[in-house]
């Protein structure tokens, strides 16, 4: 085991390999507040990559209803439970918040790598704590769809009084869209006995070498997000490839510019923003104030990693749903939840403008600029002043090409009377 810096945990942690970071890292943000669970992303991925024989139960992208749903069933609860068994009562956060190296404070508990040493499962000690889901757990990708949780027993024909009141609904559910997090310290990679899994040095996308894989399924057991899948027809494991031909700019439609993945660009709710971020030598993010991902994660701090306590440093971030029970969200996204929701509920001028970049163009936005516009609206959100300006946000691709120009207020089109049915 070596010691590596996991900035999401605010400390060093043990990992089976020496730290090695790519030049840039594939990362993404999902705004859960906007997700309507339409599964367009799921089908975009399915119809692009996993439509063949042997891939029937392979959903590289899935959208599950939380808290009850999950693919495989109860994946997160099971891993959280294993960690709790390995470190009873010790999975908590504390410490000081520091900008890049400890933005959420310090995690005092054990990661899946650290807990593996003390937890001996049916197959003995592993490199990462985990479990192998059964076929039954993989059998239905959307079980418990739209099942809410309530804090009291329901009465037939009656809505729960006050259930809809903010800041936290008493009856709630939300959609959690998931793909492989292309972690900085992948547990799948750590667990592979054949060294068949690797992280691409150019963009940090995690891939399975199909020539080397021998179907041991250790990656499936170790990945705490359960995002690797066994294919019976080839007897190898397959996983999300981050649509790397698109990210490389090899898709014809991209004209050579890095492009977002299929699931990101097909999202009809514009909940997704994917990009590439540059890293420092210690794996922390290089300051890039006008990269939308850097801004949302490190400056505004509205986007948080999914289950950071697992310790894999996932590169998928989520703007947490503002109506959901806070203890649940603390468990899922760590201690940054309250500040993130506070900020998102009454966004400042810059945040509101940057949020308009989601889903506006298929190409990856590396930098944004804001041109100030007039004040158009003012109100109070739960005692906090909210002012809206009709600013224009402009997004640029890596080579400086302007790819997005949009305003905070949706443009109004007046239909000419000459053509009644045309815009």
């Amino acid at each position: 085991m070596s010691n590596v810096l996991n900035w999401q945990l605010g400390r060093e942690m043990e990992y089976p390999y020496e730290a090695a970071y790519p030049d840039q890292q594939f990362a993404f943000i999902f705004n859960i507040n906007r997700c309507i669970g339409c599964q367009t992303c799921t089908m975009a991925c399915k119809s692009t990559w996993t439509f063949s024989k042997g891939q029937e139960y392979m959903w590289w992208n899935n959208v599950e209803t939380k808290p009850y749903g999950g693919y495989p069933h109860h994946w997160d609860v099971k891993t959280l439970d294993l960690l709790e068994q390995a470190n009873p009562g010790g999975q908590n956060w504390g410490g000081k918040v520091q900008d890049l190296k400890a933005p959420y404070g310090k995690f005092n508990g054990k990661t899946v790598f650290e807990a593996a040493k003390t937890f001996i499962g049916p197959e003995g000690a592993n490199r990462a704590l985990g479990y192998l889901p059964t076929d039954d757990e993989w059998s239905a990708p959307n079980r418990y769809e739209d099942h809410p949780v309530g804090n009291e027993k329901g009465v037939k024909g009656q809505y729960f009084k006050g259930g809809e009141l903010l800041p936290e609904h008493k009856t709630w559910f939300f959609y959690l869209a998931r793909i492989c997090n292309h972690c900085s310290y992948p547990a799948c990679l750590a667990a592979c006995p054949r060294n068949a899994i690797y992280k691409r040095p150019e963009d940090g996308i995690v891939l399975v070498d199909q020539e080397r894989c021998r179907g041991y399924r250790k990656c499936m057991e170790a990945c705490p997000y359960k995002k690797t899948y066994y294919r019976g027809t080839t007897r190898t494991t397959e996983k999300c490839i981050g649509c790397y031909p698109r990210v490389e700019g090899k898709d014809q439609a991209s004209h050579g510019l890095p492009m977002q993945t299929r699931c990101m660009s097909s999202c009809i709710g514009h909940i997704r923003l994917q990009g590439l971020v540059e890293l420092n030598k210690d794996g922390t993010w290089k300051e890039a104030r006008n990269n939308p991902l850097y801004y949302l994660i490190h400056v505004a701090k509205v986007a948080l990693p999914l289950y950071p306590q697992f310790g894999t440093e996932p590169n998928g971030y989520y703007i947490p749903p503002r109506w959901v029970s806070r203890p649940y969200l603390h468990q899922m996204f760590g201690p940054g939840v309250d500040a993130a929701i506070e900020k998102y509920s009454a966004p400042d001028r810059e945040l509101l403008a940057v949020l308009q970049l989601f889903g506006k163009d298929q190409r990856i936005c590396h930098r944004y600029e804001i041109k100030e516009g007039p004040k158009v609206f003012e109100t109070e959100v739960r005692g906090k002043k909210f002012v809206m300006y009709n600013d224009t946000v402009i997004g640029y691709a890596k080579d400086g090409t302007k790819i997005i120009e949009t305003t905070v207020e949706e443009p109004l089109h007046i239909r000419p009377d000459k053509h009644a049915n045309s815009i």
Partner: protein, 307 residues
């Protein structure tokens, strides 16, 4: 009888042993299994490779004593090897899909499928209990003395009643199976008290003494008969005999409550014949509603006008 395996099933079962989920598998054997398995990836032809994997997994399925579990159980049921041409064991994904089914082809050859989750091999005792229960089902179906028929011959029942009857049949058959297994010293899938409670729920309209008496007969019988079970499921309340035209009572044919009873004394013989063809247990004294009469009048008239 041929014993055949679905390749997914034996692969998953062998993997279960190799991943340490089945107790008592030596680690040296696991290492050898993995080495042998790795070599097969170098076979380029997909069909050849599949065949090689199947053979390897089958060899280890046998080596690790998984096949013996099934063959030992088969010895307890001599009718199965005698009457079946094939017993195929296949993999299921969920517990609810597990079970045994009998198939008969056009040439009257019988084969059966036993569907199991590979994880069943984690606990031999539970697996034995379950498979023994399922094999008893198969054995009953193959036993001429039991007199099994694939469809329940219950004329005169509508769809909902047929479904209810099938549920009752399943309940009674399971009671007789677990009663026999318990008497032979095996662990039944459900204890006597659980079966008694289920029986009591299914036949709650009977007096308690009758429930207890019938349950005891079913639990203790060594040689149940399909016909005896049928007699208990078709009309346990004796409602058929109780059918009499009364305002608001249910029509015995369509089961809808009616206030417009037909005059059965004026029924044409052709109509009566036609009704009895569909509802063998029906008698004119039970009556029928005006709408059913219309339907049968129309059907009979149509039959008479057909060339």
């Amino acid at each position: 009888m041929q014993l055949r395996y679905d390749e997914d099933f034996i692969e998953a079962a062998a993997f279960l042993c190799a991943s340490g989920r089945r107790k008592g598998v030596p680690s040296l054997q696991i290492a050898r299994f993995q080495r042998e398995r790795e070599k097969l990836y170098s076979i380029l032809d997909p069909d050849e490779r599949n065949t090689a994997f199947f053979k390897l997994h089958l060899d280890w399925f046998r080596e690790w004593g998984l096949e013996k579990l099934i063959t030992d159980l088969l010895k307890e049921f001599p009718l199965l090897p005698e009457k079946l041409s094939v017993l195929a064991v296949r993999k299921t994904r969920g517990k609810n899909d597990e079970g045994a089914e009998l198939y008969v082809n056009e040439t009257n050859q019988r084969s059966a499928i036993l569907a199991l989750r590979p994880e069943s091999f984690e606990r031999d005792a539970a697996l034995r209990d379950y498979v023994r229960h399922e094999f008893t089902h198969l054995s009953d179906m193959l036993d001429p003395a039991f007199g099994y028929a694939p469809t329940l011959d219950l004329p005169g029942l509508n769809g909902a009643q047929q479904r209810l009857a099938r549920e009752r049949y399943r309940l009674l058959w399971d009671i007789t199976i677990d009663g026999r297994l318990a008497a032979d010293g095996y662990t039944p899938m459900a204890a006597r008290a659980q079966h008694a409670a289920a029986f009591s729920r299914g036949y709650s309209f009977w007096p308690e003494e009758k429930q207890a008496e019938t349950f005891d007969i079913l639990w203790q019988t060594r040689s149940p008969r399909h016909a005896e079970l049928l007699a208990l499921i078709a009309d346990p309340r004796g409602l058929r005999e109780a059918h009499r035209p009364a305002p608001g009572a249910s029509c015995p044919l369509c089961d809808f409550p009616t206030f417009t009873w037909a005059d059965t004394e004026a029924l044409l013989p052709g109509i009566t014949t036609r009704i009895v063809a569909d509802f063998a247990a029906w008698t004119p004294e039970q009556g029928l509603c005006g709408r059913c009469l219309e339907t049968y009048e129309a059907a009979t008239a149509l039959q008479m006008t057909m060339p």
